[in-house]
Symmetry: C2
Subunit: 194 residues, 2 copies
């Protein structure tokens, strides 16, 4: 099967292009060049840059939600700090995609229903099954905050943290997220097996 491989190449090239040039710098020609494909091959699968952007965001989200939904933390085999460090790191490595996602959400006024069901829902469901309904809101808030912190510019992050040391700021953010998350329903409840 050549198709899935080609799609992977395109999405992976588009992700790199996005991180280097931002949403507005996304060009089919440059993505094709980076993937070692012809522009025609890219437009065959993704007719416009909007299609390409949507698919790239979806691919990142899928990776993020999979990581969260299947994290060993659920099995008590990892810590809250580890799952948050992993997720924050993933979001920071994909800052422009996180930004693109926020941009589209704010532009449209809401996440589309399809997008929603395909994305965070399985993670929130798993949280609710393990820790009761209040865990949904907690999961949503912590995920949102982690993404938002990852997407902050360096200057903003330093301003929010009130420090001039970027490494210290990242540590403060992780510690802050852990403290916030630690007040969640998992702190007082053992996971229920569904």
């Amino acid at each position: 099967m050549e198709k899935p491989h080609t799609l992977d190449q395109i999405i992976s090239a588009a992700t790199e292009e996005l991180e280097e040039r931002g949403i507005n710098g996304l060009r089919v020609r440059l993505v094709a060049e980076r993937a070692g494909l012809s522009p025609g091959t890219v437009t065959h699968y993704y007719p416009t840059t909007q299609h390409l952007l949507d698919a790239t965001i979806e691919s990142f989200q899928q990776q993020a939600w999979d990581m969260l939904s299947n994290h060993p933390w659920f099995e008590g085999e990892s810590t809250l700090e580890q799952v948050l460090t992993d997720f924050y790191g993933l979001c920071r490595a994909n800052r422009e995609l996180v930004r693109a996602r926020f941009f589209l959400t704010a532009r449209e006024g809401n996440v589309s229903d399809t997008n929603w069901r395909q994305s965070l829902e399985p993670f929130l469901n798993r949280l609710a099954q393990a820790y009761g309904p209040a865990a949904r809101l907690y999961g949503h808030s912590i995920v949102l905050l982690t993404m938002r912190f990852a997407f902050h510019s360096k200057d903003e992050l330093l301003a929010i943290c009130g420090t001039k040391d970027l490494d210290a700021a990242h540590e403060m953010v992780i510690e802050h997220l852990v403290t916030l998350a630690a007040s969640g329903p998992w702190s007082t409840t053992s996971p229920r097996r569904a």
Copy 2:
């Protein structure tokens, strides 16, 4: 002084127009009509809809940050639930402005430094003075989450909360925000007077 009064009229009309028609529906002609002014008067102060939008967002933010920075909660004369209920209500009443703010931030990649210093900074500073440096991050996160929840569409809010009752969803959100905020440094520290 006629000028401040005219500006107030324009901003107030623009706010109403925004809530009714959204960012993309903002028109100088309609704002002027609603304010009982000529389009020329509006464009004299705000040459483009972007100027008008920026000023309207700034005015809302100022109102929001003033409310937070001067809330009786700081004097121990109100509850965490009250300050969060007040802020959530204000943001919900200005959903389109909150959305416009998120949209611009996501588009630009960060809040401009000027905007930042003029906005949340005094509130975060007051928190840090009263409760130490960790209170900055807490304040920032709770404010961000409250705004984000206020801006969610009805369907999203119901999906996140896992309920079909909108009033119940709003109550769950407030309760969630109070629980989150209650884990902040104010829970264990009395406010220090600067």
